[in-house]
């Protein structure tokens, strides 16, 4: 009971995002702008053009290129309004550094509270609406990824989280799976992930 009262006493700490602007965003997880030729280790900047899917936010391009603070660095190719009220996600880690895992987990923190949008994690792909893949493809996880995809019911969405899953980033090759939603970042900011998930479920 005392815990219940403690919870009440703490009050609501959820932010108004996405209606309001995000607060305190770490700059090197947002959109990058600038010009000039730089030595980019992943070729994310070529011919004065920044490709969000390849960027690992290493700051090598600084100060010619600078972060803008815009968190909308994702790409929703397919959205499904069926999931508008309830959107269950099964995350699968096929070879991460742990960063994506942690940022994804922080979506449940009071600041973001993804459940207010009807977004939840599920413990099995059999109940999942979306498969969220993170990390580079590793040999050991190939079979598990395939099985998870097969186990999911239709309709299903595939979400690629982080530059590793989209393009392989710096470390290796991406998983062989076509992404309907691609969330850039290394690791992506929780604001970016949340916004992308809200759009993916058709809101």
């Amino acid at each position: 009971m005392s815990w219940f009262l403690k919870g009440i006493k703490r009050g609501i700490r959820t932010e108004k995002f996405p209606k309001e602007k995000p607060l305190e965003v770490a700059p090197w997880s947002t959109q990058i702008e600038g010009e000039g030729n730089v030595n980019c280790p992943t070729n994310a900047i070529e011919d004065n053009k920044w490709t969000q899917e390849k960027c690992i936010f290493c700051r090598r391009c600084f100060p010619s290129y600078k972060p803008t603070g815009d968190v909308n660095i994702f790409d929703v190719k397919k959205r499904n309004p069926t999931f508008r009220k309830s959107f269950y996600i099964y995350p699968i880690d096929v070879g991460t550094c742990g960063g994506c895992n942690l940022e994804l987990k922080l979506l449940t923190s009071p600041q973001y509270d993804m459940s207010r949008f009807g977004i939840f994690f599920t413990n099995t792909p059999r109940h999942a609406d979306a498969l969220l893949v993170m990390g580079i493809m590793t040999e050991g996880m190939r079979e598990a990824l395939m099985r998870a995809y097969e186990a999911m019911p239709e309709p299903k969405l595939i979400i690629l989280l982080g530059v590793c899953a989209i393009s392989g980033g710096l470390l290796g090759l991406p998983p062989e799976i076509k992404g309907d939603v691609r969330i850039a970042g290394c690791p992506p900011n929780p604001y970016t992930i949340l916004k992308a998930l809200i759009e993916a479920k058709g809101d």
Partner: protein, 377 residues
């Protein structure tokens, strides 16, 4: 007092040096028994943050043995032959939650190998990084413990704190996981004293004291996963009243000037680890309040050398052995990650416990799978 830390490549690392040694293969045998079976948990299952497979050998309920296979997501990192700063990009991505520890241990090895004198303020900046990382990680570990207990209010409060620490890190270092912060020759940092730490101290103090008083919570931890091992490291060792802490030893970081005090406990169980981690948060906050962040640079040089760099990561000693060729390229690298030591201790401590204890014990070790399966090429 000499203590063994673990296996670093072909060496055995001690707190005062290293010697070449053979891999000792520990064989724990269990014979097949009637009704005993292998309960598979993982590699991909809800409740696991990373991909790992636990084979729980059990009659049902009582655990006879746990075999952990962390090699499902094992990554090959092509680092050899790369320049130091290029190599750092790879080192950063070995384990994001411990990036500061990894990069600083790596840089310290390089600097020692090349005989570079690092400015004192930069060392303080590095301590600030590691301690912030420790606060975040310990908060997360305690959060995972409350999550296993289904304890919603402290769980959410702790997650709020984790995110808060992440934002502080993001604000002062530009990246929430210290990617692109440390480099050979300096540091990217916003200067000044770190603000908002007192909010964390106040909130956590409140939560920590309430959690200690919560009988139903600590009942799950007390007596769970008892391990007192001379070869243990980090909070696991300190919870068993072994004063093992790299911060207390000569590793090249001026912890003594910040009046670092070691935190220990004597129960050697998950509860002890929980207490040690909680106390360390206060200790780290205390040290952080004495640090003024400064942007410092130093001059690198081109030379040949080999050395070991070691820091106390949130889960225990983390060490790199690096050999640099005279072109300034990495020619050999070994990693001793704290999780690789802790994972063995976890299996050992799990025997004779029961199923419901497993998630609590697992989380209490603060293991990150990503840093275990790394192969360097």
């Amino acid at each position: 007092m000499r203590r063994k830390i673990g296996k670093l490549g072909k060496f055995c690392l001690y707190n005062d040096g290293y010697v070449e040694c053979e891999e000792e293969i520990e064989k724990r045998t269990y014979s097949p028994a009637y009704g005993s079976f292998d309960f598979v948990y993982g590699p991909s299952a809800g409740g696991l943050m990373e991909s790992v497979r636990l084979d729980i050998i059990t009659f049902g309920e009582y655990i006879r043995n746990v075999i952990v296979n962390p090699y499902y997501k094992s990554r090959t990192i092509k680092i050899k032959g790369k320049g130091i700063n290029d190599a750092l990009l790879y080192i950063e991505r070995i384990n994001a939650p411990f990036t500061a520890s990894h990069t600083i241990a790596f840089l310290m090895a390089i600097e020692k190998a090349l005989g570079i004198e690092v400015p004192y303020e930069l060392l303080l900046d590095r301590i600030a990084e590691i301690e912030l990382e420790r606060i975040r990680n310990n908060l997360l570990v305690i959060e995972r413990l409350t999550e296993s207990a289904g304890f919603q209010v402290p769980m959410n409060s702790l997650l709020w704190l984790v995110e808060k620490v992440n934002r502080i890190i993001g604000k002062y270092f530009g990246h929430r996981y210290f990617f692109g912060v440390n480099y050979y020759g300096g540091i990217n940092v916003e200067e000044g004293k770190i603000k908002d730490l007192e909010i964390i101290e106040k909130e956590f103090n409140d939560l920590f004291n309430s959690l200690i008083e919560s009988r139903i919570f600590i009942d799950r931890l007390q007596g769970n996963g008892i391990i007192k091992d001379e070869e243990s490291i980090g909070p696991v060792a300190r919870a068993a009243n072994l004063e093992y802490d790299a911060r207390n030893e000569e590793i090249g970081l001026p912890y003594k000037d910040l009046e670092f005090k070691i935190s220990t406990y004597d129960s050697a169980d998950a509860f002890g680890r929980f207490i040690v981690r909680g106390k360390e948060i206060f200790e780290s906050l205390n040290m952080l309040s004495r640090i003024n962040l400064k942007k410092i640079e130093y001059k690198g040089k081109l030379a040949e050398g080999k050395a070991i760099g070691r820091v106390e990561s949130p889960s225990g000693d983390l060490a790199y052995y690096v050999e640099v060729s005279n072109e300034g390229k990495i020619s050999e690298i070994y990693l001793l990650s704290p999780s690789s030591v802790n994972i063995k201790l976890f299996s050992k401590s799990m025997v004779k416990n029961i199923f419901t204890d497993l998630p609590f014990n697992w989380e209490s070790f603060g293991i990150w799978i990503s840093e275990i399966g790394v192969k360097f090429e």
